[in-house]
């Protein structure tokens, strides 16, 4: 077969691209994990949260979150009586060291654990200019630490305040739903240590997951439903005053 110079010049880069694609295999971190068989979510039961801060400590230790930054945190709400739009909220050190007893003796008081809501229609992934943050095929919002420029668009876009810039790497950082654990058959660090079971990891694609029975029989709410983010953190017993 004869080939002109032009044909050769055309063929070479095409071959290079094809060869590059063939060489780059996918590193297998969790060989038995089926990406298509999962759609991760979390169930949070406000009525069970005791504000001990175990989840915050575990998250920081598991994911090496720098001090003063939180991938998950706990808020304490105090609603005096009927003025629901003016709740008093505090979260000393993210609730990491628990909560001081507090002066309030009347009114409604409760704890709200918060974390990335792993939205199905997440505003944060839509604004990334370089494709560094994305929703994985199993429904977890992740950040590619190699690709992130640290431009902070996503930090501003998140309506729940769940993202921050890691001062050590200068890249966006957030809850990964302990992706390195859930792909290995473990639960998240926060769910693992929660002493009252206020947090439950759930796989919505698993028909045998207890979350389905729970969602059918309880009044469950997500945070800021008016934002239509498709949040997958389902709160049981969530008060209307919670932002």
């Amino acid at each position: 077969m004869s080939m002109t110079r032009r044909q050769l010049l055309l063929l070479l880069p095409a071959a290079a691209v094809a060869w590059d694609y063939l060489l780059a295999g996918t590193p297998e971190a969790a060989p038995n994990y089926n990406l298509a068989g999962h759609w991760w979510a979390m169930l949070i039961d406000i009525n069970k949260c005791i504000g001990c801060g175990s989840c915050v400590r575990a998250c920081q230790l598991e994911n090496k979150v720098p001090d003063g930054y939180y991938r998950t945190w706990v808020e304490r709400y105090h609603i005096a009586d009927w003025e629901m739009q003016y709740p008093k909220v505090d979260s000393p050190n993210g609730g990491k060291d628990g909560f001081p007893a507090g002066k309030e003796t009347v009114g409604k008081n409760f704890f709200v654990p918060k974390l990335c809501n792993h939205c199905a229609e997440s505003p944060c992934t839509q604004v990334c200019p370089v494709g560094a943050t994305f929703i994985s095929p199993d429904g977890v919002v992740l950040v590619d630490q190699e690709y992130c420029l640290g431009c902070r668009y996503c930090v501003q876009a998140c309506p729940y305040g769940c993202r921050f810039i890691n001062p050590q790497t200068n890249t966006a950082n957030k809850c990964t739903l302990c992706y390195h654990r859930i792909t290995k058959g473990l639960t998240t660090a926060c769910c693992e240590v929660c002493p009252t079971g206020a947090r439950q990891l759930a796989n919505l694609k698993d028909p045998n997951d207890p979350i389905h029975a729970f969602l059918h029989t309880h009044s469950v709410q997500v945070l800021k439903p008016q934002m239509a983010t498709g949040s997958k953190c389902f709160y049981n017993g969530l008060d209307g005053a919670v932002r």
Binding site: A29, I50, A58, G98, F110, P137, E146, Y179, L186, V193
Partner: protein, 156 residues
């Protein structure tokens, strides 16, 4: 009749255009990671890189493999749903090398009040204590953490 006079001009423009296209494809092939775009507008290998991060909390099943005696005690009491590492801290290093990594001794004066200190925001029915409850006596002189119901000796 000749429609295109000096058609060579067109071929020269086409050649320049083609060369530009080839250059673009080569540069793009070099700069864009191969796994980019496999699932969407991102690098698919980032998923596996995140999944490969090390685990620090081994999980209660790993503990129960060896410490079934503690598990037996714990399963009879109200602390049954509390995972081992909830109090003992992250111990995957101990789980993978029990001989050389030993967990630190715990202080019940710190640990118990983390959950059981009185606070109005805690749910009704959750056992809570204030400073007068023990009168300065260590928690574990009456309550054993793995099964905290009062022991017979302590009530004497």
């Amino acid at each position: 009749m000749q429609v295109f006079r000096d058609a060579g001009h067109l071929f020269r423009v086409a050649a320049v255009f083609l060369a530009g296209l080839v250059l673009f494809l080569v540069v793009r092939g070099c700069l864009v990671p191969p796994s980019f775009g496999r699932y969407g507008h991102y690098r698919a290998n980032a998923i596996t890189e995140i999944a490969a991060l090390p685990v620090n909390y081994a999980g209660h099943r790993a503990c129960e493999d060896c410490h079934s005696d503690v598990q037996d005690v714990k399963s009879k009491g109200v602390h049954k749903p509390v995972a081992c590492e909830s109090c003992h801290g992250p111990l995957s290093a101990h789980a993978s090398d029990p001989a050389s990594v030993t967990p630190a001794k715990l202080d019940t004066a710190i640990l118990c009040v983390r959950c059981h200190q009185q606070n109005i925001a805690k749910p009704n029915g959750f056992p809570q204590v204030n400073a007068e409850h023990s009168g300065g006596v260590a928690c574990d002189s009456c309550h054993q953490p793995h099964n905290p119901a009062m022991t017979a000796e302590a009530t004497k």
